[in-house]
Symmetry: C2
Subunit: 318 residues, 2 copies
């Protein structure tokens, strides 16, 4: 039911071999060799993205590739890891032609280069299902220094990088659920298509716990609270918004829910002791205090100190 | 278009967390931490298997899981690597229920345990496409000692472990293309469902080049010849066959082509200098000399020293 194998070899040689790093054995050996730097351990993370689930069928091929790589870079960044490389499992279907693949490989190569993240290996397969991309990303951290979800302590301040909600509002624009001025729409849609993994956030030795915001800010803080066995109180109005998102929620406050629960932000939320405040350098990325860790469990969203009811605290893929 | 995220978390906790190894952070942290043993480097390999392409839709769930893991173990074995663990990206669809998943996880756990290959992380997603499994396997080898495809030298002897063609003949039985006595059929079908990755083949320091036979013996020897820039001459009648396969090709010699080109063998083919012959211990797995490396390029199949024409030298997934 699929293309002949020779197609796979041609495809790899033509589109993917140019992205290969030194450990990739030219993508000719069905395996990669990797050695972490002295004193370091490897961080591994895998994410699958599927047409119609995690991106829209008609999204530009280069942006699909770049987003697939960036969501994995975001996971590495949240661990405080330096990117090393990635394995790329791509399942194509008969509807995909060489023009598409060329653009896809160009996007993948662009970000692989920009983030110092060479291709190390993978697999290319065919099915009659939706386009499916599984990227396994490798990074390294000094042994024992990886940031985990589980280290938040009562008394910690909760911070987040960048701005929250742009991607969810961008998707709402794309789906026709939200009408905004042209330049606001463009800014938000760009954030949906192209997350900015916070590989520059230097949080090791500062944060007690960290994770990347992919499922939605409230849901992800919930994961941190659960893993750390603490409660988190989020001050809604402290959540950093872009200019476009600020205008949108000011006009329609119901959009706060999309902002807090929408997901696909790929910012880093972290908890750090109050004593670390002076060492938290806000620049690129900007860093904003948004809440507090206390005893208990779960996440409470407050406005002016008053708890708010959210009808949905998670993130459902559309 | 997919199940709510909460489903994913439940599913991981219920079915996959019990398989997690120490570096997996309880599968709660979106990442795994791995440190190779002192003096070792990591070997990474990824393989995707898809319902209707790499296995049959109705195959038993536990066998699907075990085969998905074993084909990756075979890649590690061919590199001379010791298994460390695996990442597991599973794309489900609405046709899959908890009964199926339970059997799948049981099979995965059985082989993860048997091969000392703990689950380190992964991703679980939903689509309306075919069931798709991408496993990224990690192993380790003493630095610089991984077996590659590219080291074969003129004068080397070519060997293969185990027996060749069983899986391809087993698939032919399943598809109704081949009628065999019941016990022969059962033996061949079992080889199709359950490859035996040759993790015990102790080839480091002996083989100049190695790979696992997945695309078909002739095609894979072609990969070795190309990577090593040599020619390989294969003596067809030296290729080791199981009793069931021997009976089948004796009755119908046209089946030789399926044996040599069918693939899915997951044996290891390797080239070693003649001087190493005494150190090649044939036991478990059995090891058989099947050919010679010379100057030139490509693979020639001979019978009684006379070159044979093969109509297909590769392996096309059905």
């Amino acid at each position: 039911m699929s293309a002949p194998r020779s197609g796979e070899f041609d495809l790899i040689a033509r589109f993917f071999a140019p992205l290969a790093g030194p450990g990739a054995l030219g993508l000719k050996d069905d395996a990669a060799l990797v050695k972490p730097s002295p004193g370091c351990e490897l961080v591994l993370t895998a994410d699958t993205v599927i047409a119609g689930v995690h991106f829209r069928e008609g999204d530009p091929a280069d942006l699909i590739a770049r987003k697939a790589l960036r969501v994995n870079l975001s996971d590495l960044a949240a661990k405080g890891a330096r990117p090393i490389g990635f394995l790329h499992a791509l399942t194509l279907n008969p509807g995909i032609d060489d023009t598409w693949l060329e653009l896809y490989a160009r996007g993948l190569g662009q970000d692989a280069h920009a983030y110092g993240m060479p291709l190390l290996g993978g697999d290319t397969t065919m099915s009659h299902g939706p386009l499916t991309i599984t990227i396994t990303a490798l990074g390294e951290v000094p042994a024992g220094e990886a940031l985990l979800r589980s280290g938040a302590r009562a008394g910690d301040v909760v911070y987040v990088t960048g701005t929250i909600g742009d991607s969810a509002l961008g998707l709402a624009c794309l789906k026709g659920d939200l009408l905004l001025p042209r330049e606001d729409r463009a800014a938000l849609v760009e954030r949906y298509h192209l997350p900015r993994p916070r590989v520059d956030a230097a949080l090791r030795g500062i944060a007690n716990a960290a994770l990347d915001v992919s499922d939605g800010l409230v849901a992800d803080l919930g994961h941190m609270a659960a893993a750390s066995q603490v409660a988190i109180v989020l001050d809604r109005d402290a959540v950093p918004l872009s200019q476009a998102a600020r205008k949108a929620v000011t006009k329609d406050p119901r959009l706060w829910e999309r902002v807090l629960a929408g997901g696909d932000d790929y910012e880093i939320a972290f908890a750090a002791p109050e004593s670390a405040a002076a060492r938290i350098v806000s620049g690129v990325p900007p860093i904003t205090a948004i809440g507090r860790v206390g005893a208990g469990s779960g996440v409470t969203v407050t406005v002016n100190g008053t708890p708010l009811a959210l009808s949905s605290t998670g993130y459902r893929h559309r």
